[in-house]
Amino acid sequence: MTEDVLPATPMTPTTQWVIEPRSSGPLAATHEVWEHRRFVDYLGRRALRKLYARTALGWGWLVLRPLLPILIRVLVFGGLVGLGSDGVPYFLFLTVGSLPWNLFQGSLMWSTRGLELNRKVLDEVYVPRIIMPIASMAPSALDFAFNAGVIVLAALFYLVKDGTTHLSLGLHTWWSVVALVLILALALGIGLFTSVWGERAKDARLTMGQVTAVWFLMTPVLYPISEVPVEYQGWMMLNPMAALVEAFKFGLFGTVAPGVLAFSLAAVLSIAVAAAGLFFFSWRDAIVTEN
């Protein structure tokens, strides 16, 4: 880097170290994460190993975790309760709806625990703290991949059974991609707040467990939004996850297009929460580093 600055003196080292105060703020934080991206891989593996330590099935849980709850819910809500599913087989309806929801819930729970789980690492080496809530999302990313695999298998099953996969892919599938990005932004945004809290008290984890359980029931995963009584549908717009999950389903099924207003609201909200989370985290970070 310095060769063109000091070309004449042969004795100078080729690398010059510049020591300057660490800049803070959301932009600097983002840059720092990118510079330390190798850690994401390491910490992600660490989180996974911790998750499956001392288990009999070990990695087999990667397959079971997405499948078991879906099978139970299909039996109960599709079979016993007989909830509607916009004309798609209930099993497929639920697997597709669960994919974005599980990504959200998993990412949020794991990022909340990010700082707490990696306290030891933080004490020993310098890693930008903001990496922790991000890298800790690894288990949910892996779950996502397996969940997606379940959808592919289910689609193949229906292709053989009904002669159609019930999926409709096309230009509108971009809705799904955009929805997933926004979901990750929303989860990370909230996680940046809660991980700071989670580092200090177990309450964060307990609270988020409660909140996501309630949030899940208020998001159209088990049921389509069309089944919700009309007087409540307006209220559901306030839940960004409702619009995002609906948009994701639209991308794969091509049946009910999400309301533009609801979706824009959700998009703005997700991005705002992510930005606020970055601000908050880097502000807290500056305080923590000083102490």
Binding site: R54, T55, L68, L80, A201, L206, V214, L217, Y232
Partner: protein
């Protein structure tokens, strides 16, 4: 062990492969003080290191109840016979949670004391019995909520809903049946749970499934005709319906169903007792 005066007693050490159920029970009785010790310990560590502390004991069980009432009763419109859905769900949850929590926590008894039991001897059956106590928090909180809600409904709907009769006295018996079943199942699973953490994850899924096939969030009368005959094979269906019957003054499950449930609990308990004994010594080596 023959002793003659002047000579010290001779001790013979030998493996004892017998089952000796009576001796086991006696031993547990001698160590009974430890049940309280472990029960107390399971509470103390509960919400340590949290900001809200003991307030969590109230918050955690209440959120699922309120949301469940909104979603199942409000949005899905599950019928609840002739009482408000919230009350219906509350009473069903008391009975269900007297089973669910004690099983899950009792099952963790050995696992939670892994460090301790590799160091000293105690009859291991004490551990699930003590740890079970933690699981009774939810049903107790729900009973508290019920006691608060009854006067509220008396004020708002003009009726207590509670049926005061001799039948009410059977309510605690149904809870006892639920707790006995929980302990018996904990005897079966606590050794597995100590050996592998994922047994607990699997059990949690299994329990959520079990809850859905038990008439907790819906009345037994909602069960489709073709499954009706199988409902009472599930002892928890008998417990939950019986408890609701005792509180609201509805018809009890048929007598044969109650007898069947009791029989099932006895079988699970005796087999669990034997199975626990079979595995317990080996478990300590595998920790």
């Amino acid at each position: 062990m023959s002793t003659s005066p002047g000579q010290p007693a001779r001790w013979e050490l030998a493996h004892d492969h017998g089952f000796h159920a009576a001796a086991r029970v006696q031993e547990i009785w001698r160590y009974r003080r430890l049940v309280w010790f472990f029960a107390r310990q399971s509470f103390v560590s509960l919400y340590a290191k949290t900001q809200l502390g003991w307030a969590w004991i109230l918050i955690r069980p209440l959120a699922p109840l309120v949301v469940g009432a909104l979603v199942y009763g409000g949005v899905m419109g599950v019928p609840s016979v002739e009482v408000p859905y919230f009350l219906f769900l509350l009473v069903g949850s008391i009975a269900w949670n007297a089973f669910d929590g004690p099983w899950m926590w009792g099952g963790r008894g050995i696992e939670l004391q892994r460090k301790l039991i590799t160091k000293l001897y105690l009859p291991r059956m004490i551990l699930p019995a003590g740890a079970m106590a933690r699981g009774f928090i939810e049903p107790l909180v729900y009973i508290g909520v019920l006691l608060l809600m009854l006067p509220y409904y008396r004020y708002s709907d003009g009726t207590w809903y509670l049926a005061v009769s001799w039948d009410l006295l059977t309510a605690p018996l149904f809870l006892l049946l639920a707790a006995s079943l929980a302990f018996s199942l904990a005897l079966w699973t606590s050794n597995w749970q100590a050996r592998a953490r994922d047994v607990r994850f699997g059990l949690a899924y299994f329990l959520s499934f079990w809850m859905y096939v038990t008439p907790v969030i819906y009345p037994a009368s909602q069960v489709p005709e073709r499954f009706r005959a199988f409902v009472w094979l599930n002892p928890m269906a008998t417990v939950v319906e019986g408890f609701k019957g005792a509180i609201f003054g509805w018809a009890f499950p048929p007598a044969w169903a109650v007898l069947l449930a009791c029989g099932e609990v006895v079988v699970v308990f005796l087999s669990g007792f034997w199975y626990f004994h079979l595995l317990e010594s080996e478990t300590t080596d595998k920790l």
